[in-house]
Amino acid sequence: MAGVIEQIRNVCALGALQSVAAIERAIPIIHAGPGCGQKLWSALANGNGFQGAGYSGGHSVPCTNSTEQEIVFGGEEKLRETIANTLKVMDGDLFVVLTGCTSDIVGDDVGEVVRGFKNKGAPIVYVETGGFKGDNYFGHELLWGAIIDQFLEAADAVQPGLVNLWSVIPYQDPYWTGTLHAVADLLRSIGLTPNIIYGPGEGVASVRKIPSAQFNLLLSPWNGLKTVGRLEEKFATPYLHYPALPIGATETSAFLRAVGTFAGVPAGKVEETIRREEARYYYYVERSADLLFETRFLPGHFVTVADSFYALGLTRFLINDLGLIPEVQFITEVVPEEYRPLIDAEFAKFDEGLVSPVHYGADGATVRDELAKRTFRERPLILGSSWDRDISRQLKGYQLSVSMPVSDRLILSRTYAGYDGALRLTEDIYSVILGSFQ
């Protein structure tokens, strides 16, 4: 049983509604109380990089706004009516019914209601995401389980080179759009065809295309394993699991080699891409070396407070490329016990034999208490959320908001992934340092 949580860094399972909103022309339909949509959107989109409502998010999301009536007498009729009229009013290509606590506790038969519309040809699925069931990382996997089982159909043929990209969770990661596009560009650079699914692109057509991919690429420490496993089971699509979000030359080149080998891309093509990209990358890194070595503006040990995607990706970059020393890393999403050994192992094998302690849990007090216990001889670098600006000030740290909630930055297409992303991150870190006294 998890304890109380101060300073939320993710939301409940119903937060998966934002993963639906991230697919162009997909429309979430919430069967829940009146405040759920507003609260979740406010947390994941509004107060987190100011990502906006997009096409069908925010207060545009159809919702039953359930009240006592639906709790006492059941909400199935209200849901049926709401879906029927959503199909008339809202212009979408895929409709996803997501339930909240009220429906899941009273036990509405949502499947029965939704099947009625599906049988009449509506592109609609449902997923029971009552907030008490888990966090939105859990909800995100439930959502994909539902789409795979209720919506996807086997492809006539496999399209060689087509890769479904599964990685960071839209909106939860305020940098998701730029990150998915950066990874897609990396895949293109070695001749593959990425299927990005979320953000500007093909919308629901990219969802329908999922079964025709040559393989699924999961770029994540653990989240998404169920999804790619289910796709393998149902459509026999193999998957490559690459645990770390690639940031910087070391990791991005390793990533390209791993993907190239798995996809059967000729090694020469991959190496040519890596050579070209690393040369360009190190042109800029060389320019930064003067600042890093000729001035005294070096941060002390670093701390990350982020989900496992970013805690691992950032730590690898900061250790393996930037040459910094890890102090402690906090992983904020609920990582199921079965996956913890995978993650622990990743944090025990950095270059130069470095390891980093890891703490699991979303409670802000853990971060505060753990950091207060430590002695920092230099001003630490703290890559966390906007909540962590307070403790950073107390520790006289250099703080950059990289994880939810990022309420002190507007984020549009920015990303820290890949070669260019690492340059952005280096710029951002040193801009914080240089701006801290001028």
Partner: protein
């Protein structure tokens, strides 16, 4: 006594105030039918979009009390709005030069087993942790749909911990499913403050004004105005302390910038402690501020000083107002705001010479706790011309349909997530985020100049609208905006 402070919770607005979230008609019709004890029946919708709930409104007020803490007894998603509450908190602290600090709130993280075995253990842990972490002067427990349905005995847990936690621990009943009127959450918060914090007066403070507001941006302006009539404002309840709230029973008068917000606490303080509540229209625009100051002046016997002040403020701003009216000639607008602002801004836009084509109100209180209809709608109904009026818990599909039909020059809205949709339609949208927009004479002209600026450069909205599609079918734009509003059974 209309407000029962012996009860453990405030009844929701639907029960207390005849509040509705579904109506379509005209302003005069609504006012006429809800006068003299008459009521209109709420109309449900057969299609609706995501609204908001009481818990957000309760928490936004309570999280602002600087030395209190909140235990949000709920699954983690219910704390989703605390990120924005913290932005508001940091912003307010910054402008008060208080230094940064996060809000003090823990969520009890209700999970599946708790829905079976109950969440009392987690609540107990939440209260203990809130005390250990923040040593607050009071702890508020905000409830949720989940805690309400599983039926946790919150009062029982509170009394169990009475010896252990040496500060007031107060239940705030704000389960989202209980009310469609999110403003019921304001009342839940005020009820908790009134029953758990406020103490009987030791002695009256004849110059103290309880100024009920949200973020208090106009503190300097109000302090200056009040100083002229010998009064000192205390801005409640965000950014106040528990000690300040304990003493609001000693004030000379309670005033508010928003009657939707202030009527519960204002009425309760008047009934319970004899602190007069100013029941005028809200202080927006010339007419608003003048009626409001006169209301305050009458209570404290400073009528002459008030008249002198009004004359000065008028003289300082009349020139600007004339220029603004000239500029706005022929401009047409739609309003979509909470009831107090929707009603009050009908007057504000009249003063600026902007014609209102339609007003939407996010809910409608048929009468306030003191038994009368909202003053601003009565005033608006005195105008010769009637105006179409709708009540909806921010149903954007109705608003979008209405805007695309009426094609106004301006859309005035209040509530996050509302104005942007008008901008996407190419309509100049003026979000009234700050409750003190158009406050007083000077606020009105400042607001006017802000509108003038927005109309001067429309590049952003024009170019946005050319490229963006809204999520509605062509079919919907052909329908009456109130197609899904059930007809009122007469």
């Amino acid at each position: 006594m209309t407000i029962n402070l012996k009860s453990s919770e405030a009844p929701i607005r639907e029960q207390r105030l005849g509040a509705i979230t579904g109506y379509s008609g005209t302003l005069k019709d609504l006012v006429g039918r809800t006068g003299c004890g008459g009521t209109v029946k709420n109309c449900d919708r057969t299609f609706s979009q995501s609204s908001s709930c009481s818990s957000g409104c309760a928490q936004t007020l309570l999280a602002g009390i600087v030395d209190a803490a909140i235990v949000n007894h709920a699954p983690i998603g219910c704390a989703g709005d605390t990120i924005y509450h913290n932005i508001a908190n940091q912003y307010g602290r910054f402008y008060r030069e208080w230094g940064n600090r996060n809000i003090q709130l823990v969520n009890t993280n209700i999970e599946e087993p708790d829905t079976v075995f109950g969440g009392a253990d987690k609540l107990r842990e939440g209260i203990r942790e809130a005390w250990r972490r923040f040593t607050p002067k009071a702890i508020f427990i905000t409830t949720s749909c989940a805690s309400g349905i599983i039926g946790d005995d919150i009062r029982g847990v509170i009394s169990e911990l009475a010896d252990e936690i040496p500060v007031p621990v107060i239940q705030v009943s704000c389960e989202g499913f209980r009310s469609k009127v999110w403003a019921s959450g304001f009342d839940a918060a005020f009820h908790a403050v009134l029953t758990g914090i406020v103490k009987p007066p030791r002695e009256k403070q004849p110059s103290l004004v309880n100024m009920v507001n949200f973020r208090g941006s106009a503190r300097a302006y109000i302090t200056r105005l009040f100083d002229r009539i010998g009064l000192v404002p205390s801005f409640i309840i965000p950014f106040s302390t528990v000690a300040e709230l304990e003493r609001i029973s000693e004030a000379a008068v309670t005033a508010t910038v928003c009657t939707t917000l202030g009527s519960y606490i204002g009425t309760a303080l008047e009934e319970q402690y004899g602190v007069p509540y100013v029941k005028t229209i809200p202080p927006h625009g010339f007419a608003g501020i003048e009626a409001w100051l006169r209301g305050i002046g009458a209570v404290v016997g400073k009528q002459a000083e008030v008249e002198e002040l009004i004359a000065e403020e008028r003289a300082a701003t009349e020139g600007d107002l004339a220029e603004l009216r000239r500029r706005f000639k022929g401009k047409r607008a739609v309003i979509g705001m909470g009831p107090s602002y929707s009603q009050s801004y009908l007057g504000v836009l009249d003063e600026l010479g902007i014609e209102v084509l339609h007003a939407a109100s996010w809910h409608y209180d048929q009468r306030y706790d003191y038994g009368e209809q909202p003053p601003a709608i009565l005033r608006a109904a005195e105008r010769d011309k009637d105006v179409t009026f709708s009540v909806a818990d921010q149903q954007l599909f109705e608003i979008t349909n209405t805007l695309s039909r009426l094609k106004p020059d301006l859309y005035f809205s209040r509530h996050p997530g509302s104005s942007v949709w008008a901008a996407k339609l190419g309509i100049t949208a003026i979000p009234v985020i700050d409750e003190y927009s158009a406050f007083g004479h000077r606020g009105l002209v400042n607001f006017g100049w802000r509108i003038a600026d927005a109309l001067t450069n429309r590049n952003f909205v024009n170019k946005l609208a050319e490229r963006v599609k809204l999520p509605y079918t062509e079919w919907w734009y052909q329908q009456d905006p109130y197609t899904f509003l059930e007809k009122e059974a007469v």
